[in-house]
């Protein structure tokens, strides 16, 4: 058998289309969106063809001209094959698709296959296939030959003379795979009950046939397992090419005798593989042709072609801010405008009329070539110095990793290189180097790490950041907090306590993965997770999806099966570890008391003032699909709508426990009035601010304004403000804060009117009144409010209508409320 190499293969698919293949079966589908079980009815033939189509799809995907196949059907009503032509016989065997490089047309033809009315003999078909293949490969003796039989094994087989065929196949090195519908499989495991006698005989015959072939040429399996194995992630191995360059140290031009220069080769060690292969399609429905007997409408999907268009906005006066700014170019022509403006204002420009250039502030610098003079550089890796391994910052490497080997054809280079690698390895140092891939290309800075392997010494290269590549953001210290008076704070909700540190320590110990993997060949437990076994789920899922869509007629009725378990095996921590760490986790939850702060719900400001975006919004922007302008108006983008709904539903589920806390102002708390943190570790952020609240009791008005201005947490802010006001009023000595509270209420009322929180205001005020007029209430405060009169009372419908809102209160009721 010739050496296995990619391509240069002819695979013959022999498909059984005897009447028995028309039996229908129920194939399970992945659960539907609601988790319901789903299934689809299809014939055994359709099911078997899925396998064939997958195999062919893989060939199309690989895109090799030398990966060819042909399809022969047996049990066909027709007889059309070369053996029959020459010698007669071999009936009901049809060469359905001649050997060629497959394409989408091949798949279309396969879809047209239907179960026949007659039986055909698989051994006849096998002989035809081997002959047809041999004739085709007459001048291509080195090609790999494969035959795949797909059958249900339910039809009689002529079991004479098959030994001769086996002999011939062995001689030609033809490999044979038999895929059987519902064949017994001990490994799956699957055993068909009430198997027909003929199928039982056929199965054992097939097994015998396969066993008679040389070991590496025969394979027998059941269809369901074959289909499953197709979704197993299969890494496409790429051989890294060696590109030659020089390793240098010192000045090799003028001080050659004390400089070194070694011929080396560089090859990729890691290279990001990306999912891909998607093309865009668009379907259009067409009326049926007259000669189409079924008379049904069809949809034709065509691949779309990409075209780059260049657009220009010729109306400088219209673009906002442009006329005022004394510059010679459009300054505000950015994404916002582009999205917003009617396309008609934009004009297409031909590519030939364009000038290349660079943006330099608001001015442009034309540059005909698209680049300036390049730095004159010489190919090679120049060592700049060495650094100790312990000074190496593992967060710096910013590229894929490359191997660096000594030139394979030069012993002196190998010896020289090896001596450096070994010396670096033993000293525990890395080299800092500057690499120029080709003469004239941009230099990169990086490090070379020595590796001493059993039979070879090599280095690994990774690119490191230039000064320009590091962003010096400043972050507040996590350990050193300084108070406003300049003193160091040692107890603060931001600083973990001893208890918290201990709990975290136990959690880390219990979540250790060191001995959680498989055993190696010496029986030693390996760590859980190995990059070499972690398949990129996206790549393999995408491939699975691509293939699936290519072989099924409709995604809705034939949904994509679940991803192969191999793809998601590292998605969750191992069960054993989860179990072991459960207690430590509970402790952590208990001592850290982390709480999600209610999400802000985006809302339009009524005053039409566009507030500056804060950085969080961009996160949402990135998540959503709409153009940026629309972010303020969440309802226009379906995804932010989803956000919103999620946000609401989240808070709904939380109110069960948390809401109660919020709404019960009388809930006893420890020393809520103390302005300083309590001596015991207190996880609360602000002793004056109840957990989960965004308004504190110390500066309620400031908190309230801040929240309003920052993001629209209006509903939450109004609600919290109401609770806070009622709390303050209830407390002893609240008279001291009378003016402040009244101010709060005024602002709150105004906000409620503007922000359509009218019901919230009315509820708060009613609650406040009830509080005040209770036995132990603050009657004095209510009389203060009464003095303010109608202006502070409930919001009536007439008031609300002015602002386009609604209220279910009449004006007179509002008037009366404050008087009583």
């Amino acid at each position: 058998m010739p050496a296995e190499r990619a391509g240069y293969t002819v695979t013959m698919f022999l498909v059984d289309i005897s009447p028995s293949m028309g039996a229908t079966r129920t194939v399970e589908l992945p659960p539907g969106p609601g988790g319901e079980e789903r299934s689809v009815e299809m014939t055994n033939l359709e099911w078997a063809l899925q396998f064939v189509k997958f195999k062919i799809q893989e060939m199309i995907f690989g895109g090799r001209k030398t990966e060819q196949c042909g399809v022969i059907v047996f049990g066909s009503d027709l007889t059309a094959n070369i053996v029959n032509k020459k010698h007669g016989g071999y009936e009901h065997v049809e060469e359905y698709i001649p050997i060629a490089t497959p394409n989408s047309g091949t798949l279309v033809r396969l879809d047209e296959l239907r179960p026949s009315e007659t039986y055909g003999d698989p051994i006849d078909a096998l002989i035809v296939a081997v002959e047809t293949q041999d004739a085709y490969l007459e001048r291509k003796r080195t090609w790999t030959r494969k035959v795949v039989i797909v059958t249900d094994g339910a039809s009689p087989i002529e079991t004479e003379d098959w030994e001769k065929t086996v002999k011939k196949m062995t001689g030609l090195g033809v490999s044979l795979t038999i895929v059987g519908v519902d064949f017994d499989d001990a490994e799956l495991p699957y055993f068909e009950e009430d198997k027909s006698a003929i199928k039982r005989v056929n199965e054992s015959f097939y097994a015998h046939l396969i066993n008679s072939l040389p070991e590496d040429l025969g394979l027998l399996g059941t269809l369901s397992r074959a289909l499953l194995s197709l979704s197993y992630p299969n890494v496409k191995e790429t051989k890294s090419t060696l590109s030659q360059t020089m390793l240098r140290l010192g000045d090799v031009e003028t001080r050659e005798e004390e400089a070194l220069q070694i011929g080396v080769r560089v090859a990729k060690c890691t290279a990001l593989a990306r999912p891909g292969g998607w093309k865009r399609f668009f379907g259009s429905t067409m009326e049926s042709d007259d000669d189409d007997e079924e008379g049904e409408r069809k949809t034709i999907f065509r691949e779309l072609q990409k075209r780059t268009e260049y657009l220009i906005d010729r109306s400088p006066g219209d673009a906002q801010g442009k006329k005022d700014v004394p510059v010679d170019a459009s300054v505000d022509f950015d994404e916002d405008e582009l999205q917003d403006e009617d396309e008609s204002q934009l004009e297409k420009v031909e590519k030939e009329n364009l000038i290349k250039g660079f943006k330099h502030g608001s001015t442009y610098v034309p540059c005909a070539d698209g680049h300036f003079l390049k730095l004159n550089t010489k190919q090679g890796i120049d060592i700049l110095g060495f650094l100790s391994e312990k000074n190496f910052n593992r967060a710096y490497p910013l590229s894929e990793v490359s191997f660096v080997f000594a030139a394979p054809s030069s012993a002196p280079d190998q010896v020289a290189f090896s001596s450096i690698v070994q010396a670096m390895f033993e000293k525990g140092v890395l080299a800092i180097a500057r690499m120029v891939r080709l003469d004239g290309s941009d230099p990169k800075i990086g490090v070379l790490a020595p590796r001493v392997w059993p039979d070879i010494d090599l280095m690994l290269w990774a690119q490191m950041p230039f000064a320009d590549d590091v962003r010096h953001y400043t972050f507040p210290s996590l350990t050193t907090l300084i108070s406003r008076t300049g003193e160091r704070i040692t107890k603060h909700p931001y600083l973990p306590t001893e208890d918290q540190l201990d709990a975290m320590g136990r959690f880390i110990d219990d979540m250790d993965l060191t001995d959680e993997g498989e055993k190696d060949e010496n029986g030693k437990l390996q760590p859980w997770f190995d990059p070499r076994l972690s398949f990129n789920p996206t790549i393999h899922r995408t491939k699975q999806a691509l293939f699936h869509a290519a072989v099924v007629p409709d995604i809705a009725t034939h949904p994509l099966p679940a991803p192969h378990p191999e793809l998601t095996k590292y998605f969750e921590p191992p069960k054993r570890v989860l179990k072991r760490s459960r207690e430590a986790l509970e402790d952590c939850i208990e001592v850290f008391k982390v709480k999600e702060v209610p999400k802000k719900v985006l809302k339009n400001r009524k005053d039409g003032h566009v507030r500056a975006a804060d950085e969080d919004e961009d996160m949402i922007l990135l998540d959503s699909k709409g153009p940026p302008k629309k972010r303020a108006d969440a309802t226009t983008s379906p995804i932010s709508q989803a956000h919103k709904q999620r946000a609401t539903s989240d808070s709904e589920t939380e109110t069960e426990s948390e809401g109660e806390e919020l709404l019960l102002p009388t809930k006893p708390r420890d020393g809520p009035g103390l302005p300083t943190p309590t001596a015991s570790p207190d996880p609360e952020l602000d002793p004056q601010r109840a957990p989960g609240r965004i308004i504190g009791n110390t500066f309620p008005l400031r908190d309230f304004r801040k929240n309003l201005s920052q993001g629209d947490v209006v509903t939450k802010a109004v609600e919290d403000m109401g609770v806070v006001v009622r709390e303050i009023v209830e407390r002893p000595f609240s008279g001291r804060r009378k003016d402040e509270v009244i101010e709060c209420l005024k602002v709150l009322r105004e906000t409620c009117l503007k922000e359509d929180e009218i019901d919230a205001w009315n509820d708060i005020l009613k609650g406040l009144k009830a509080d005040c007029l209770e036995e132990m209430g603050n009657k004095a405060f209510w009389s203060e409010l009464k003095k303010l009169g109608r202006g502070i009372s409930l919001i009536s419908s007439s008031e609300a209508e002015k602002l386009g809102a609604t209220s279910n209160l009449s004006e007179s009721a509002a008037e009366a409320f404050i008087q009583q």
Partner: protein, 646 residues
């Protein structure tokens, strides 16, 4: 930049990288320099660098503002800058652009996109001031008597920003002053400063102070500013925590520019997602890109409209060629390329048309929608970091790298308690020398990756940048990304050779390790220098350009030259030095390996012409020489090389 849906949708090659850059380009940064012009700022001092030159804090501040603009014009050409002076008696002339600002403040440079002319104008002023120290006093005479209330300064800043700055930008005020108590013993003014500053920050503007501290006049923030500056100056804390804001930067005047460099780019988070440590134990984190390869800006297209050049935006259109019509990108479906050949299509297919197409019964859809494709990318996961467990620090090897790392820091406003939890995790992991393993999906349109969580301890450096505390997320390669080594066996040097190498390695050890700041990207600098020269209409002087990343030859030879010589001798006597390498290359290729000894003997006996062209080429290739030309050229080159290397 590409239109939004282009980088928002999916499937584009290098999708994630594209997002990162467009994210940064997409937002404009506005900086308003707000510089104190009082007497002490204008006082003349000896220049720390040049002899017999006088300078002042104000001049240094203006110089720093100019330098920042010079950088911005290239790194952020869409950014805006302006300069406001205060404590000066100069008044703005009547202008229609902004509201009348407070007395004592003066807009020297209007808020506008950075541009070559305005930078040149500022450069002119600075040059003039260097020549004649009184220039600035005349241009911006210091206010006599009482200083103006800081509240007025903040109000002016607010008005200037409100009236001129583009609405979607990030806005910052760089406050430069040497006065730690501008409005002494006046609590009313203090309160008004405080409230006006709150107004300023509430309108979405951040303030970044640069307080000038000198030995004669140290700056005490607690006198005034610590009670004025809100703790949310950084913009990401919601509540007043009673903690001094971290961004109060006190700087010596000489360090001003250095200090500003750290603030040059506004701090922008790439993502804000939950970090789930365990079920029911989730904190919030924000992610930042602290190391990202900074590339040359790609060229853009312009069209000449006669009186001006106008930038052109590009857009990808999707065309149904059969119909010759454009298809709404949102209506396109996704599937696998149909290979073009129509040769096997049935008759009815051929009638339908040319090109790749697929025909199904109406109502059927053998293609995916964009949402479905996205779900294949995300594997149905929501954005977030899922901790999987902990491993020994040693397990993170050098070769497990494919791209730059990300940095995460707790996001307290999203989950209260994030900071203490994060801090505890960090401290304990450092103590136990552990790394975390996590499954990470940063955005709804990205793909899940596995990352090592490498804890970073806080390191504070004197006066400069410190390593912040947090975790680096190092993206691990998948099995699909890992390549097998193409070579597996080569000759190994013996001990004497190795020992000889150790000696010079020792001499060339850089004690501080790798410091990115020592290596500015030369090709980027070369490009930018030309860009700037062209914009300023100056001649580009290639001669004066210095590539700081070139090896320091003199240092290398001085320290290790002789040792390298010794090492070479040791190598030449190594047992394997003269071995002939057996090439096991493909059969098609003739054996072209030729060892140096053979070439040299041919050269000495003047029989170089006995070697074949491919052998000559191989030899030259190994010596890093050119392999072009005819046989005579090659022989000449070999001759030359052997002569040079006796």
């Amino acid at each position: 930049m590409p239109p939004y849906d282009d980088w928002n949708v999916l499937v584009e090659e290098e999708e994630e990288e594209l997002q990162d850059t467009s994210f940064f380009e997409g937002k404009r940064d506005v900086i308003l320099f707000c510089i104190d012009c009082s007497e002490s700022m204008q006082e003349l001092r000896d220049d720390p660098v040049y002899e017999d030159v006088k300078t002042s804090h104000l001049l240094t501040a203006l110089d720093a503002a100019m330098q920042v603009q010079k950088k911005k014009v290239i790194s952020g050409p869409n950014d805006w800058v302006g300069i406001l002076l205060y404590n000066t008696s100069r008044r703005n002339e009547n202008n229609t652009r902004t509201s009348e600002i407070k007395k004592g403040t003066f807009v020297y440079q209007h808020l506008a996109p950075v541009s070559a002319p305005s930078i040149q104008e500022l450069m002119g002023l600075i040059d003039e001031a260097r020549g004649d120290p009184d220039t600035l006093k005349n241009k911006a005479p210091p206010l006599q008597g009482n200083k103006i209330p800081m509240g007025d300064v903040f109000t002016s800043c607010n008005w200037v920003l409100r009236d001129s700055a583009p609405k979607t930008a990030s806005k910052r005020v760089f406050l430069i002053t040497d006065d730690d108590n501008p409005n002494p013993s006046n609590t009313k003014l203090l309160t008004s400063a405080r409230t006006t500053l709150i107004d300023l920050t509430q309108s979405g503007c951040q303030i970044e102070p640069f307080f000038v501290s000198t030995p004669e006049k140290p700056f005490d923030v607690t006198k005034f500013y610590s009670s004025v500056l809100p703790s949310n100056v950084v913009g990401n804390e919601q509540e007043d925590t009673g903690v001094l804001p971290d961004s109060i930067s006190i700087t010596r005047m000489d360090d001003l520019l250095e200090q500003m460099r750290f603030h040059e780019q506004p701090k922008r988070a790439l993502f804000s997602i939950p970090l789930e440590l365990g079920k029911g134990f989730t904190i919030g984190v924000k992610g930042y890109g602290l190391v990202t390869e900074q590339r040359k800006g790609s060229h853009k297209y312009f069209v000449d409209l006669g009186n001006r050049l106008e930038a052109v935006t590009s857009r990808t259109a999707y065309i149904d060629e059969e119909k010759g019509a454009e298809v709404d990108r949102n209506k396109a479906l996704f599937g696998m390329k149909l290979s073009g050949g129509a040769d096997q299509l049935t008759d009815s297919d051929n009638k339908i048309g040319l090109g790749a197409s697929r025909v199904v019964r109406a109502g059927r859809r053998p293609f995916y929608t964009a949402e479905e494709v996205q779900s294949f990318h995300t594997m149905g996961l929501e954005p977030g970091i899922q901790l999987l467990g902990f491993k020994s620090r040693k397990e993170l090897s050098f070769e497990d790298n494919v791209k730059h790392s990300l940095f995460i820091y707790p996001d307290e406003p999203k989950y209260s308690g994030s900071k203490r939890t994060f801090s505890a995790l960090l401290q304990k992991m450092l103590e136990k020398k552990k790394i975390g393993l996590a499954r990470v999906l940063v955005r709804r349109n990205s793909s899940p990756v596995f990352c090592a969580m490498l804890p970073q301890a806080e390191k504070v450096e004197e006066g400069g940048w410190s390593e912040p505390a947090g975790f680096h997320l190092i993206v691990l390669p998948f099995a699909d990304d890992i390549r097998a080594p193409p070579l597996e066996k080569e000759f190994r040097a013996s001990s004497p050779s190795k020992d000889a190498a150790k000696v010079w390695i020792e001499k060339l050890l850089i004690k501080k390790g790798f410091e990115p700041d020592s290596y500015p990207n030369p090709s980027l600098a070369y490009h930018n220098a030309q860009l700037q020269a062209s914009a300023f209409r100056e001649e580009f002087d290639a001669e004066s350009f210095e590539d700081l990343t070139r090896p320091k030859y003199d240092m290398i030879h001085k320290r290790a030259g002789n040792l390298l010589k010794e090492w070479k001798k040791a190598i030449a006597t190594d047992e394997h030095f003269n071995n002939v390498v057996l090439t096991t290359g493909t059969k098609r290729k003739a054996d072209i390996s030729v060892d140096e000894a053979e070439v040299r003997s041919k050269y000495e006996s003047n029989m170089l012409d006995k070697l074949r062209v491919d052998q000559l080429k191989e030899f030259l290739k190994n010596k890093g020489q050119s392999v072009t030309g005819k046989k005579a050229d090659l022989m000449g080159r070999v001759h030359e090389w052997l002569q040079m290397h006796p």
